[in-house]
Amino acid sequence: MSERTILLVEDNPNDEALTLRALKKSNILNPVVVARDGAEALDYLFSRGAHQGRKAGNPELVLLDLKLPKVDGLEVLRQLRTDERTKLLPVVVLTSSVEEQDVMRGYALGANSYVRKPVDFNQFVDAVKQLGLYWLVLNQRPPNP
């Protein structure tokens, strides 16, 4: 399990802390890498910039917020889906927005799931638990390219 990294793309430190706590409470023990804006997420995924020289390989799952500094979540998603290396990488959009157009564009750009972060922390934990169960345990992921 130690190799099966989760990439959390989140700029808000509160949300970051809560998500990490929710993961922990859901017994998801995979290593979590946090990218605090879209550009950093892309650098990590494509092993460039600050992440140059990172050992090749995709994370197991990307939890992607939409409203991000520098490069926003939808743009990150678009670039992931146009690159051969990350085309099939599971991406769950985890965001505050339920604006119809965001949901639609998220799916149109190839998001695998779209989850709105509930305010009720217990519900959030439930959601994360289910996500982890599905994407990290049940889902048969495509082979790493």
Partner: protein, 586 residues
């Protein structure tokens, strides 16, 4: 009967025959009186037949200067023709002649033994030659007089061999014939003159009638013109007419004068170039030519025009007026001043653009609200929960309860934000209209509610086939709110009943959602649909007070209305209608 002068006859019998012929002749004269040329012929023939041989009737001219040949007769038409050709056509009254002598004296002149040689000096060569050739042997001239007034003469010429010389009986009979003939001729002339007078009078009368008719027709035209003028004059749009070749104004109405601030006296006969800036005039003329060339109406929805009152905008129609052959002779123009309307339209457009801009802003704002306000709420709730979990045992007294309240408040605020966003979204959302299966929609929503609290015993009555016309998404929001309320307000009942149905209200189909829950006091019914209006305490039933306001907004956008009936502890029924057509946006 022409051998009236036979030697064997006695004077008496000759007179008797003469009288008889005279009687016939007079009768025939009378008959011919109404036909002057015929009368003259009849006279000549009768005299010729009675006395013989050639008879010529000479009539005194109106100025009494000459005797003029009127007619010749001989029973041999060839001789009569030769006479008409060769005999003197006209004899001057200033020169001596047998005829003048007879007419002046009023006596017949008889030459029983005519000497052609004596006659030679007194006549034309042609006449002399004719008389010589015929072998004329007697001449008689009798005057035609009526009451001493000379009318003309009758000349009788005997040439046939064997015809007895003229004698007194011939003269007597000729004189009688002449006096009757003169009378008949005079009468006929009078008649003719009277006839002419009558004809003239009839003609004059006819002319009078005709001129009266023309005058009336002219009056009618004037009246019709005045009528048309009045219409054109009072049309509130500018009406003008230009003649087709030079495109100068020939007609102009009052609205046109007012529009341009010019009097028509100054406009008539002038062209657009005399009044408007060159580019404008060129545009007008171009459109005029287009209209005349195409022989068809040309519509100019918007054209600017410089007037004494400043720049105005016109909606102009130009029509060619064609003559009988289809050639354009005039151009008719009708212009409506649309300056104010155009300005209003502009304002409306600007207002619409402003609203659209405001909507965009609102959308951006909503997005922010959705994202940014929820984020801190999540932190408040999440860290409160973390505190409870990690440090709960260390908290004393009401500490845990307070933290629970913090969490509940955060969650309630999140609900408020969500409901407000829904309310603003239903106002902004594009609305489409289609057939919506209300039964199906209601069942789906009820099923979802039941999964949240499967332990509740609720009888749900939803008949098949409820259908409405509206936006499926928005109608879903309506039913979610109404069924959610019914579900919520029956939550304190051990057993509850929720019914969805349709009824008729004022001729329109009204859907309803009925429950047997907490109900409400009808005294507060008017406050049900206001934003943040609640009829129950939060500790009784939770809620934001936005749901029914959202329902009302959606129903109004559909052109329908919403209302409710209820009684405390006896349940409530919420009704709504959906007009077929969208009447207006809110």
């Amino acid at each position: 009967m022409t051998d009236g002068g036979g030697a064997s006859r006695t004077e008496a019998s000759r007179r008797q025959v003469g009288m008889h012929l005279l009687g016939e002749a007079v009768h025939e004269f009378a008959e011919a009186t109404h036909d002057y040329p015929r009368l003259l012929e009849v006279v000549a023939r009768r005299v010729s037949e009675t006395i013989g041989d050639v008879c010529s009737v000479m009539l005194l001219s109106d100025d009494k200067e000459r005797l003029e040949a009127a007619t010749f007769y001989d029973r041999d038409p060839e001789v009569a023709r030769q006479y008409a050709f060769a005999a003197a056509r006209s004899i001057s009254m200033h020169e001596p002649s047998v005829a003048r002598e007879s007419l002046r004296s009023g006596q017949p002149v008889c030459v029983p033994k005519f000497d052609i040689q004596q006659f030679r000096e007194r006549t034309t060569p042609e006449s002399y030659e004719l008389h010589r050739r015929l072998g004329v042997h007697g001449i008689l001239v009798v005057p035609l007089r009526v009451r001493q007034e000379p009318v003309g003469t009758i000349s009788i010429v005997r040439y046939r061999p064997g015809h007895a010389p003229l004698d007194e009986i011939d003269v007597e009979i000729a004189t009688s014939l002449a006096s009757h003939a003169a009378l008949a001729i005079t009468n006929s002339r009078l008649l003719q003159r009277a006839q002419g007078e009558a004809d003239r009078r009839v003609k004059a009368e006819a002319a009078l009638v005709e001129s009266e008719r023309l005058r009336r027709a002219e009056q009618d035209v004037v009246r019709a013109n005045r009528f048309l003028d009045a219409i054109i004059e009072n049309i509130p749009d500018m009406v003008f007419v230009k003649e087709a070749s030079g495109l100068t104004f020939t007609r102009f109405n009052r609205a046109g004068e007012e529009l341009l601030g010019l009097k028509r006296e100054g406009l008539i006969g002038k062209s657009d170039y005399d009044f408007f800036p060159r580019s404008e005039a060129e545009f007008f003329i171009k459109k005029d030519r287009e209209t005349l060339a195409g022989k068809m109406l040309v519509d100019i929805p918007e054209e600017p025009i410089q007037t004494a009152r400043g720049k105005r905008w016109l909606h102009t129609k130009k029509v060619p007026i064609l003559d009988g052959e289809g050639t354009p002779i005039y151009l008719l123009g009708i212009s409506q001043d649309i300056t104010e309307r155009r300005a209003a339209q502009r304002e409306l457009l600007e207002a619409k653009e402003a609203v659209e801009a405001a909507n965009l802003e609102l959308e951006a704002f909503s997005y922010s609200v959705a994202h940014d306000l929820r984020s801190p709420l999540r932190a408040i709730d999440g860290f409160s929960q973390a505190l409870l979990e990690d440090y709960g045992p260390k908290l004393e007294g009401d500490g845990r309860d307070y933290l629970q309240r913090v969490r509940a408040s955060a969650q309630h605020m999140a609900e408020l934000i969500d409901d407000l966003l829904t309310l603003s979204r239903v106002t902004r959302a594009e609305m489409r209209r289609e057939r919506v299966d209300v039964s199906d929609l209601a069942r789906t929503i009820m099923a979802r509610l039941q999964t949240v609290a499967p332990e509740r015993r609720v009888e749900v009555v939803i008949p098949d086939g409820l259908a409405g016309s509206g936006d499926p998404g928005l109608l879903g929001v309506v039913l979610e709110n109404l069924l959610g309320n019914a579900w919520k307000f029956t939550s304190k009942r051990k057993e509850a009943r929720i019914e969805v149905g349709a009824t008729h209200q004022d001729g329109a189909k009204a859907f309803f959602v009925r429950d047997d829950g907490a109900g409400f006091d009808m005294a507060y019914a008017s406050r049900l649909f206001g934003v943040f209006q609640r009829l129950h305490h939060v500790n009784e039933f939770e809620g934001t007070g936005i749901g029914l306001a959202t329902v009302q907004r959606i129903v109004k956008r559909h052109g329908g209305r919403v209302w409710a009936t209820g009684e405390i502890d006896r349940g409530a029924t919420f009704y709504f209608t959906l007009a077929e057509e969208v009447t207006a946006h809110e």
